[in-house]
């Protein structure tokens, strides 16, 4: 038990319960409000993976899709893709 505190101090045990709660809440609340279910976002994510990997070398788990609220109250679909480089020409579909 007392170890958790010490581990946290050293940044070993990942996000704190408080940070987890806030992060998860921000996620569900935006989903509740936009009425776009997480399952739909996951389908969008999978298709983005399919498209992007034709051109770029990516780690499929490193593609993330989420909703963010803009300042004007509308929702933005934001995707974050980490790429490790461009695919070799021969791997690409005909341009």
């Amino acid at each position: 038990m007392s170890n958790t505190w010490f581990n946290r101090l050293l940044g070993r045990s990942g996000p704190t319960p408080r940070a987890c709660a806030k992060e998860r809440l921000l996620g569900v609340v935006i989903e509740d409000r936009s009425a776009i279910p997480a399952s739909v976002l996951e389908l969008v994510r999978l298709e983005i993976v399919e498209v992007v990997k034709k051109y770029l070398i990516i780690d499929e788990q490193a593609v993330d899709v989420k909703l963010e609220k803009d300042d004007d109250g509308t929702y933005a679909l934001v995707s974050h893709v980490v790429s490790r480089g461009v695919r070799k020409k021969e791997g690409m579909p005909a341009l």
Partner: protein
């Protein structure tokens, strides 16, 4: 004159977060400030406000008796003996939420206004169905009570959306049962975190600590707002003063954090 009457519904979505406790204590504290206060229990079928106020033995008629014409409003209202300018209108215990309509509840509020009260607080049932619609029907302002806990904050967000749909914009927020030690050890959401999730349309009205004296005083039928030395009581008295337009600094219950949160937002927003 009756247009000056403040009609405030106390909601949360989730049950057990402290709506009834808040209604009883804010009502007491407003009455102690000299306001003429009526508390209406809109939780038809699950009467509780009488217990929080220690008035359960004095009930003769309830709101359904009034709506169905068996009693006049004056007969059903119970005057508090400790606080002369506080009165409670009990919910029916043996009926259910479908026994009244929103229009009827609205009429009861109108009749309460005509009795010369300056504040009418409505204790809303949990949920988002008919009971919620009935309780909000006559209100012109709303207080959302939440605990610094996931399900409660999520439901609060949902309720804020539904209140907006009912024309009750920019509700006031009370964060109840805060445990500052847990916030400091990074184990619990802070007031600032809750505000960040709920967005800036909600205005922070109060922060009430998790406090055993709430349980003991509710058991005695004496709202903590009456206890001078109680910190939770102080928090409720501060809520009452803020409702009356006073600028009252927040108790040191993680408010530092919320201030810090706001400053941080200033720097991080574009």
């Amino acid at each position: 004159m009756s247009d000056d009457v403040r009609v405030i519904v106390i909601t949360s979505g989730k049950g057990g977060v402290g709506k009834t406790t808040t209604t009883a204590n804010v009502g007491m504290a407003l009455a102690a400030q000299g306001e003429k206060v009526a508390l209406m229990d809109a939780d038809i079928g699950l009467r509780n406000l009488d217990l929080a106020l220690g008035l359960e033995n004095r009930i003769v008629y309830d709101v359904i008796d009034v709506v169905e014409g068996r009693a006049r409003l004056k007969q059903a209202l119970i005057r508090d003996k400790r606080m002369q300018n506080l009165a409670m209108l009990p919910a029916a215990q043996t009926r259910d939420k479908s026994a009244v309509s929103a229009t009827q509840m609205k009429q009861v509020v109108e009749d309460l206004k005509a009795e010369g009260f300056t504040f009418i607080l409505i204790d809303c049932p949990a949920g988002i169905e008919q009971g919620f619609k009935n309780a909000t029907a006559g209100a012109t302002e709303a207080i959302v009570v939440t605990n610094p806990e996931m399900a409660s904050v999520r439901d609060a967000d949902r309720i804020i959306g539904l209140l907006e749909a009912e024309g009750l914009r920019d509700p006031m927020l009370i964060v109840n049962r805060l445990r500052i030690k847990m916030v400091e050890s990074q184990d619990m959401l802070s007031v600032g975190d809750v505000q960040e999730v709920l967005g800036n349309s909600v205005k922070l009205l109060g922060v009430v600590p998790d406090d055993n004296t709430i349980i003991t005083s509710t058991n005695r039928g004496e709202p903590v707002a009456l206890l001078k030395e109680s910190i939770a009581g102080q928090a409720y008295r501060n809520v009452a003063r803020r409702l009356l337009g006073e600028q009252v600094p927040f108790l040191d219950l993680g408010e530092r954090d919320s201030l810090f949160g706001r400053i941080k937002k200033l720097f991080t927003s574009k």
